[in-house]
């Protein structure tokens, strides 16, 4: 299945600004993207990064296997527009422009999956539950009513990421006459947006994942001295 991974290359993870510098946020965002790509490739699929700005694959430090299966394209439109241009039943450029030349915009009716780049906990098993859906539309909701990952196999379905997108997408599926499945996955529900989310990366990161390794390099560790779990950052490595 074609798997699109939208990536905001220019201003990644602004809601982590209280604990990470811009350069650190960029490094953590790229590490999470690398982990997501690895999970997709390990699940047997070939991801296409749709980046808002030019991005060098080499900077992601992917394994040769993952790099060989990954393509990249730049699309500076909004998330909603960039995704819709790549769904089945479109010609890739609904607005009439034609600057796009990536294979992911193929105007066919094969299902397309869209997986967010900050799903640092994604595993091949969790992705397989999504990608093997028998429904026309499958959605893995995120916390707060978001849509973290979905499969679109119906030519009339379009995304709208604004607001309570999970409920909106369920409604759009119904209006399209499409069958719908909701994927009940903690790993796919956990997008890493806020400092508290970093706990999840440290708790549930897999062997070989880059994001937990990067966070530990930056001095983060689990801290449950207060009885509740939080993150702590060692003083000598905290941002200046």
């Amino acid at each position: 299945m074609r798997v699109v991974v939208p990536f905001a290359a220019e201003t990644p993870k602004t809601r982590l600004e209280s604990v990470l510098t811009p350069a650190e946020r960029s490094a953590v965002a790229r590490a999470m993207l690398a982990d997501v790509l690895r999970a997709i490739v390990d699940a047997g699929h070939e991801p296409t990064i749709v980046s808002t700005a030019p991005l060098a694959l080499e900077d992601l430090e992917l394994s040769s296997e993952v790099a060989a299966s990954t393509s990249i394209t730049v699309d500076d439109r909004s998330l909603t527009d960039a995704v819709n241009a790549r769904l089945p039943g479109t010609d890739g450029n609904e607005d009439g422009e034609s600057e796009s030349d990536d294979a992911a915009t193929a105007p066919d009716r094969e299902p397309v999956a869209v997986v967010m780049a900050d799903l640092a906990l994604a595993t091949p098993d969790a992705l397989e539950r999504l990608l093997t859906t028998a429904a026309d539309i499958a959605i893995a909701p995120g916390r707060g009513g978001g849509t973290n990952a979905l499969v679109v196999g119906h030519p009339e379905f379009r995304v709208d990421y604004h607001g309570t997108s999970y409920l909106d997408h369920c409604e759009i599926a119904r209006e399209s006459g499409a069958t719908l499945e909701t994927i009940d996955s903690f790993r796919l529900a956990t997008d890493i947006d806020e400092p508290a989310d970093l706990v999840e990366v440290l708790v549930h990161g897999r062997e070989g994942d880059r994001a937990p390794a990067r966070l530990r390099e930056l001095g983060f560790e689990l801290d449950d001295r207060a009885g509740r779990v939080d993150i702590a950052r060692s003083e000598d490595r905290a941002r200046k």
Copy 2:
């Protein structure tokens, strides 16, 4: 399978105090408990509420079917001690006391499930994935490294809910020589602790659930005017 549902009857949901009065918190906590009990019964199991204080089943307004399948017992010990007394391989009172008389403390080696009372999003499907585990120990982690639900089928395993209990429980399982499965469920990972969690109840509540109905009665509704989803409470119903 025996399913234990610990319930803090006296000071429920203190982290919701910024948006709910004590009486409202109590009502919402009981509504969530009722929803959890219904999901367990719908999954074909018989729950036992282990309450920190006397609790009248009638107050939970359960359907007759759910009420008939639910038992209740009082145990004012800590969560960890009250659960451990009910795991397989114990005599129900490790501290030598014998005030307990509920069936859930049976000193046999049948597996026991423990499901938290604030898993308002629990469904029969999600619970079945947990309760049909083939492993000695199955854990549904909560956010922040917690343990929201688990199945214990190994006589040496004991819980410890303090701190990063998910990681601790994985370690205890390994030390016990038990096989371990982690259940990847957003619904079971979502315990309702903080105001932001109420969004999940409103988004994902099932037809007939009491907690979303109760929240709506209290004036809560989804609010995505700011682009992000939050809860809003209508002014005329907000607490005085």
